[in-house]
Amino acid sequence: MRKFDAHNHVWDDVHLQNADWTSVDNLIEAADVLGIEKLFCSRPITKGVMADIQAVRSANDSVLAAMKRQPERLFGYCFVQPGNGKAALDEIERCLAAGMVGVKLYNQFKYTDPAVFPIAERCIDRRIPILGHSGYLTDPTASAAQPNISNALEFCGLSSRYPELILILGHINGGGDWEWAIKALRECPNVYLDTSGSVQEDDTIGLCVRELGHQRILFATDLLMEGGVGKILAAELTGQQREDILWRNFQSVLDRRAA
């Protein structure tokens, strides 16, 4: 069965001369073993940093370099920070022209912040998805470390403002109360979610399907590749549901651009 990993990463400076490609090669090796045909990758700037646009471009250049090395396997999301203003919009255009297929937002701004709106409008114009870092963090320490992380209700807020936006809530199992997130997403039918994250808790996928319907669910691993595949294989799904989640739903997202 085909598999498209809707949420993965390139983390190293592979765009620089004499780069160490080990991490990218390990990614491809794992994808081969697990039968993952395509991986959709980004390189966000993390740890609460609001970087200048040069650093953002450099991060995206590493993804573009990896795409060039593995053109049949690796595809890119363009990471941008809404606070970079017009430069962020220009960066989206640069990345799309170089072959990327979507935009990645991290935790620099909450998705209900007006700074995000021009990014959303550009993605609507270009018919490309936004993959957003997400979490409903109930632990005070974790929450304090990411004050601007967006939770599922904030995804719903952006989706309500822009119903035509293709918005993906990243890593439902990436840490935080995933049951809360699923319940919140019931009210916003235009938001997809991806199944990735280091948490592998039983019945996550089943609850997603029961509450949201399987066509909003996108298979992903966020580098936890064995866990990501294992939980989809272990979930109680019909063959059709499993296949849709593993690749067909995301293919339909990508097809919107061509349409």
């Binding site: 390990n26 632990d139 049951e179 280091s198 592998q200 808790e201 580098l223 294989l233 272990a234």
Partner: protein, 267 residues
């Protein structure tokens, strides 16, 4: 054959679990090809008197001999815990001692922790240490527990050189640090939170500590079993004997499970 060394029975107060009783757990194991599981009681973690949870656990597991291997949990801050431990050893033949220090409000390195570790050594029983039950980022407001650290584990291991440790649901294990704590040959690490591919945690631990240190574990019923089955399949490139060790032989040797080899494999 597969022995899962990281399993629990009972309810968890902060989230619904689907397989809480012995019968439903056995059905769950059968559906995933798991022959036997080493289980602790979640009720022992949350009852004031952990031993009441042990009574339930041993009673439940008796219905499935050779399939569910119960491990008694000890709360060394509770009155009479030594006598309760004696019952677990003499009457019920517990194969190990489970400790949940953060939930029972003591430290493995304080007088309570030291005392129970000495008892483990006297009884020649391994100690089961679960680094955490669930990800802290989703904690319930009443869940104040913290993860056990590798530094704490290293200190313990050095202070109690004859005690063996079953490490459940750990990540971030550094083989060099475990080696320095002289844990080679006396720890059994299950891989539910470790990776075979990408970061290659499991191959690195095998190269540092030896294949005898690794076992199959899933953290059921908290987690899906599927991820650990995928990892086991991804270890198929190891010599066949090594795969079998990880799947069940290491667990059988570590916990001295004479009866499990005769258990009926799941259909």
């Amino acid at each position: 054959m597969i022995i899962d060394v990281n399993a629990h029975l009972g309810h968890y107060p902060f989230r619904r679990l689907r397989f809480t009783g012995a019968s439903t757990m056995i059905e769950h194991m059968d559906s995933h090809g798991i022959t036997a599981a080493v289980v602790t009681s979640l009720h022992s973690v949350f009852y004031r008197d952990a031993h009441r949870g042990n009574e339930e656990l041993f009673h439940e597991c008796r219905k499935f001999p050779g399939r569910l291997i119960p491990v008694a949990t000890v709360n060394p801050t509770y009155a009479g815990w030594q006598r309760d431990l004696e019952q677990s050893v003499r009457e019920w033949q517990t194969k190990a001692i489970g400790l949940f220090p953060s939930y029972h409000n003591y430290s493995l390195t304080d007088q309570h922790g030291q005392s129970v570790l000495r008892s483990a050594a006297e009884h020649n029983l391994p100690v089961v240490l679960t680094q955490r039950l669930e990800d802290r980022r989703q904690r319930h407001p009443w869940d104040q527990a913290e993860d056990i650290s590798i530094e704490e584990l290293s200190e313990l291991a050095m202070a109690h050189p004859s005690v063996r440790f079953s490490l459940r649901n750990w990540s971030g294990l550094d083989g060099g640090q475990l080696l320095a704590a002289k844990l080679r040959g006396r720890c059994l690490i299950e891989f539910s939170r470790l990776q075979v591919l990408v970061s290659k945690d499991v191959p690195k631990l095998i190269s540092t500590l030896g294949v005898d240190s690794i076992a199959f574990g899933s953290h059921m019923p908290f987690d899906y079993v599927g991820p650990s089955l995928v990892k086991l399949a991804n270890l198929a490139t190891l010599p066949a004997g090594d795969c079998e060790k990880i799947a069940w032989k290491n667990a059988a040797a570590f916990f001295q499970l004479d009866d499990v080899t005769g258990a009926r494999p799941p259909q």
